[in-house]
Amino acid sequence: MNDLTILRDAWDAPEPPSPGEYTRARAALRTRMHPRRTRLPRLSPRLGAVGALALAIAIGLVVVQNLGGTGADGRPRSVVPGLPAVPVASAEVLERAAKAATSKPFTAPRDDQWIYLQDRITRSDGTIATQANWHRADGGGEAFMDEDGKLHVQSMEPPRDRPGRKVPVLDTYKGLTTLPTDPDALLRWAYAQDMENGNTSKDGVVYLLFNHVLSANMLPPELESAIFRAMKQIPGVTLQTVDIFGKPTYSLGFTDDWLREELLIDRQTYAYRGVRSTVVRNATIDPLKAGNSTGEVKKGSTLIAERLATGIVDTPGQRG
């Protein structure tokens, strides 16, 4: 034993904070995070706190219907004029989304350019906020616009690999371009990552990973396309048509215990539209995860992050 080890062992392991202390400290932090907001059930929009095991939903060819219901003749009726109300297999929808991703015009950002993302966050309690963020393609900076319209820019040293510490590929646009664009290879990569999210199944974690990558970035088209093709192979992922943004929209969802996460895809253009998180049943969860003192989350509470705009610009603050 050297002196440092003795110094460590000479003190008893510190008592953990009491649950009350923990809750108070966490509540103080959350108040700081949302100074103007009242108490809300915590909804994790993305890779956040999710509850227990995901419900095992059958894989694969889920039949999708238009939301128009059935006409007098017994045939499905479309709510969107010109859109045929035919059942669509999820594999087919995702294949179309994959093709749409690669067919749109795209110029990759230079390392020193900034990616602009604008989202509208709508919660079921009625709060709406618009977020405008910029991040430099090489990780050399980040910026956001605050609620008063003031731009905050933080330039940073672009992360570099160091001995024994590689920059996580998910942290920068540049890193994302190194991911496999073959769907099978991408899926293998995702399953091989050492990630966890509470008790979420591995399939759920991989789903959440792709959900997060799509929602927090602008992606090279080949990667976006590969993600759509890879996602259709994840067991438990379901495809539905949901009524959101004032029109039927494809929802690629995964339910994990009390929480359902969805990736929203435009039915006409097959473009990424946003993400939605929904509490699917009343639950009492860890109060720390619920962000309130009782730990109750209410069925039907939702959080929607709708992508309003994206762009590649030369300086933060520009909107393309």
Partner: protein, 179 residues
């Protein structure tokens, strides 16, 4: 994690969940449980406010959080020293009682706390910061330097100075430990 929280502040609670207990424990060792609650809580509030200044090239937020906690602990320097002094007094009896075992080299580290606490009183504050980040928070010397915002060489010499005192305290306890 911090980078995500930067774009999505909601994520910062993940940082809290991951590190709060650990930071609380570190502060509790240095200042005792009653101050630990306030200081650990404040650490995360400050960290949230400063999250955009965090250098995301580093994969772990630990040293960064320990740096903030250290600065807050420094405001309670006198309370910290009082605590070590009290520990050194209360543990003295125990150490004397165990003298035979001590000589036999069988006494566990726990019995050495009084001597170490007395030594910590004598270590200069800046040296103690590095020593305890290395011994208690188990940061490397480089991480401790980074946490405290001092050059790595400075941290190394501070650690060296501090360890001379703790080693001397231990050498008093057991001559065979002397180097």
């Amino acid at each position: 994690m911090i980078r995500r929280s930067w774009r999505e502040p909601e994520r910062f609670t993940e940082v809290f969940d991951r590190y709060y207990v650990e930071i609380h424990g570190y502060v509790a060792r240095r200042l005792g449980p009653s101050l630990a609650e306030d200081v650990a809580s404040e650490t995360f509030l400050i960290a949230f406010d400063r999250r955009r200044r965090y250098d995301v090239a580093y994969p772990s937020a630990r040293p960064w959080l320990y740096g903030i906690a250290s600065n807050l602990v420094a405001r309670h320097r006198r309370a910290e020293v009082r605590r070590y002094r009290a520990l050194s007094r209360s543990d003295i009896t125990h150490a004397v009682d165990g003298h035979a075992e001590l000589v036999a080299g069988r006494l566990d580290a726990r019995a050495l706390r009084g001597r170490l606490a007395a030594a910590l009183v004598d270590v200069a504050h800046g040296d103690r910061e590095v020593l305890l980040l290395v011994a208690w928070a188990q940061l490397s010397c480089e991480e401790a330097a980074r946490a405290l915002g001092i050059p790595a060489g400075t941290a190394r010499s501070r650690l060296h100075r501090a360890r001379r005192k703790t080693r001397a305290a231990l050498a008093d306890a057991d001559p065979r430990e002397e180097r």
